[in-house]
C-alpha cells in the first residue's frame, strides 16, 4: 500500500519536475536574447506554485501574494548589491542595510524569511475573514507593500529602478529554485496540514465539524506561500538583475492568477503547466507586438497581449473553471497491461 502511494508521489512529482528540467535544458540551447524568455518562464513557475500553495489548497482567492514576491525581491536585491556601489545608488539606505552584503544563496534564504514573516503578520487579521471578503482584503496587502516599496528610500530604491544586482547566469538557479519550490509545495499538500486545508476547501463546515481549525490552517498556508513567494522574488531579481516596485504589482498579480487558473488552480501540475504555457504565450505575444515572422509577418499593436491573455483567462473560467489539467495531478496515461491478468503468484512470494 505504502509503495503504491510512494509510486504515485514519484510520478506526480516526476512529470512537472522533468518538464522544468527540460525547459532549463532548452534554455541553454537557444540564443542569448531568447534565453531570457525561458528563464522568465522558470521563475514564473516558482511564483505560480507559491501562489498555488495558498490559493489552490485553501480555495480562498488572494490578490496579495505578489507583494511577498516584491518584498523578497527587494530584500534579496538590496542585500546582494556590493557595499562599495550601494552608497552611490542607494544613498538614503539604513546603515545596517548599507554596510552589509550577502551571498546569492543566503539572500534567497533571507527573501523567503522576510516573505514568510510578513505573510504571517498580515495573515493573522486577514485569515479571520470568510472566503470572498478575505480575497478582496488581500488587496490591502498588495497596496501597502507597493506603496511602501515605492516611497520609502531608507529600505530600497523608491520609485526608481533597483539595478546592479549580481545576476545568476544561465538556467541553473531558476531550475533548481523551481524544483525546490515545487518539492516543498508537494510535501506540504501531502502532509497532515495540507490535507486538513484541502478538506476545508471542499467543505469548510464539514472540515470544522471534524476538528479542523480552518482559520489556523489557512494561516499556515498563507505563511508558507508568502515564504515561497519571497524566495521566488529572490530568483526573479537575480535572473533580471533589476527590479522596480511597479514591475511586481497589479499586472504580475493578474499574470500569475491567469497562469494558475489556466493550468488548473487545484493541482500542483496545473500550476506548473499553466505557468509554462501562459508565459510561453506571453513571450510570443510580446514579441509579436514588436513584429515577428512566423511564416507570415505578425505585427500586433501594443496592448494586445493583455487582451488575448485576459480573454483566454475569462473564457477558461467560464467554460472550464478547473483549467487544462482539470485540477488533477500529473499521471501517466493508463495502459491496460496484459500482466494484470496473470495469476497473483509473484517471484518474491515463492522465494524464501
Amino acid at each position: 500500500m505504502s509503495t503504491l502511494r510512494n509510486r504515485t508521489a514519484a510520478v506526480e512529482l516526476l512529470g512537472p519536475g522533468l518538464l522544468i528540467v527540460a525547459v532549463g535544458l532548452v534554455a541553454t540551447r537557444v540564443s542569448q536574447a531568447n534565453e531570457l524568455y525561458f528563464l522568465n518562464a522558470l521563475v514564473a513557475v516558482s511564483m505560480v506554485v507559491a501562489v498555488y500553495v495558498f490559493v489552490g489548497n485553501s480555495g480562498v482567492l488572494s490578490f496579495g501574494q505578489i507583494s511577498f514576491v516584491a518584498v523578497g525581491g527587494f530584500a534579496s536585491g538590496v542585500m546582494t548589491i556590493p557595499v562599495e556601489s550601494k552608497s552611490g545608488v542607494l544613498p538614503d539606505l539604513f546603515p545596517i542595510l548599507r554596510d552589509h552584503t550577502l551571498g546569492n544563496v543566503s539572500s534567497l534564504v533571507l527573501a523567503a524569511l522576510v516573505g514568510g514573516v510578513l505573510a504571517l503578520v498580515l495573515g493573522l487579521p486577514l485569515m479571520r475573514l470568510s472566503g470572498l471578503a478575505a480575497g478582496i482584503a488581500t488587496f490591502a496587502v498588495l497596496e501597502i507593500t507597493h506603496n511602501v516599496l515605492r516611497e520609502w528610500t531608507k529600505i530600497g530604491p523608491g520609485a526608481t529602478t533597483l539595478s546592479l544586482i549580481p545576476e545568476s547566469s544561465g538556467p541553473t538557479q531558476p531550475v533548481i529554485g523551481a524544483l525546490v519550490v515545487m518539492a516543498i509545495a508537494y510535501g506540504y499538500q501531502r502532509s497532515r496540514l495540507g490535507r486538513m486545508l484541502r478538506a476545508s476547501r471542499e467543505d469548510a463546515a464539514a472540515a470544522e465539524a471534524v476538528g479542523v481549525n480552518v482559520h489556523r490552517q489557512r494561516l499556515w498556508a498563507f505563511t508558507l506561500s508568502g515564504a515561497l513567494a519571497g524566495f521566488a522574488g529572490g530568483l526573479y531579481v537575480h535572473m533580471l538583475g533589476s527590479i522596480t516596485a511597479d514591475s511586481v504589482y497589479l499586472e504580475l498579480t493578474f499574470l500569475t492568477l491567469a497562469m494558475l487558473v489556466f493550468g488548473g488552480a487545484t493541482s500542483l501540475w496545473g500550476a506548473v503547466l499553466g505557468a509554462l504555457v501562459v508565459s510561453g504565450l506571453d513571450s510570443f505575444l510580446s514579441q509579436a507586438e514588436q513584429g515577428v515572422n512566423v511564416g507570415v509577418k505578425l505585427d500586433l499593436p501594443q496592448g494586445t497581449t493583455l487582451i488575448i491573455l485576459g480573454t483566454i483567462m475569462a473564457t477558461m473560467l467560464i467554460l472550464r473553471p478547473s483549467g487544462i489539467t482539470g485540477g488533477r495531478e500529473f499521471s501517466l496515461p493508463r495502459v491496460r497491461r496484459p500482466a494484470a491478468r496473470r495469476p497473483p503468484a509473484t517471484p518474491e512470494r515463492t522465494a524464501p
Binding site: 479571520r128 470568510s130 478582496i136 506603496n147 493578474f254 492568477l257 491573455l309
Partner: protein, 308 residues
Amino acid sequence: MNALGAPVLATINAQVVVDAIGLGATYALMAVGIGLVFGILRLVNFAYGQLIMAGAYTLAYTSSWPVAWSIVACFGVVIALSLLMERAVFRPLREQSPTVMLVTTFAISFVLQSIALLIDIRDGQIGEPAPSLTSLNVPISIDGVDVRKVTIVAVLVAIGALGALALLLGRTEIGLRTRAAAADFRTARLLGVKANQVIGLAVVLSGALAATVAVILTVQTPFVTPDFALHDTIIVLVGVVVGGIDRLWTATLGGFAIGFVSGIVNGALPTDSTVYLPSVVFALVILVLLLRPAGLFVRGRTSVVDRV
C-alpha cells in the same frame, strides 16, 4: 485629548472635512453600484472601475459636444457596456462560485484596460484630456471654506441617488422583486420573479451609477488614462468588505467611510508623508478587520465558514 491627538486634530479643519465628505460621497456611489449587483448575483465586479473609465473616455472624446449631450453619451456608453458585460460574462458565470466570478471580472478588467489603451494610443500618446466639465471644479467660498462645485454636486447626487434607490427598492413592485432576489435568488425565481428582469434592472442602475461617478471623477481629474478609476475601485472594494458586503446599506456605508477616512487622513498627515496615504488607510482597514471581521457596520457575528 491626549498629547498625540491634539496636533493631529489641529490640522483637520472644515476644509479637510468638506473634501473628505465629497470623496466619501463619490465612493459611496461606487459602493452602491458594486453592492447592487453583488446582492443579486453574488458577483463582485472588479471590472466596475473600467465602466467608469469607459464613461470618462466618452466624456473626453465628446468634449467638443455640448456638455449635456456629452453626459448623455457617457451614460449611454456605460449602460450599454454594463449590459454587454452582464450578457457576455455574468450570465454564463451564474452557476459558478463567487471566487471564480471575481477572478473572471479581474481578467475582464485587464481586457478592458488594454482595449482602452489600443483606442487611446492611436494619437501616439497615452491619456486624453477631458476639459469640458472643468468649470465645475471651480471652488466657491462659503464662510472661508473653499467648496468646489463638484463636491456639492457629488454630495447632492449621492443623496439623491440613494434616496431614489431606497424608494425604488422599498416602494415599487420591481423593487420588491429585486429585494426578494437579493435575499434568496433561487426561491424568488421559483415564486415567479423573472431573473433576467431583476438582474437587468440591477445592472442598468449599477451602470447609471458608474456613469455618474465617471462624470464626477472626470471633473476632478480631467485627464483620462486606461487605469482611470482602477485604484478607486480597489479602495471601494476593500471599503465595501470592511463595511459588510452582504447588505447594500452596510456596503454603502463602508464605501463612504473609506472615502471619508482617506480624506481626513490625507489632511491629518504631515505634508512630507502624504505619499504614505494608501498605507495608512489600508493599515486602518486591517486593524478594523482584526476587530470586526464580519464588517464594521454589521450587527452580530458570522463565522469564518459560510454555509450556503
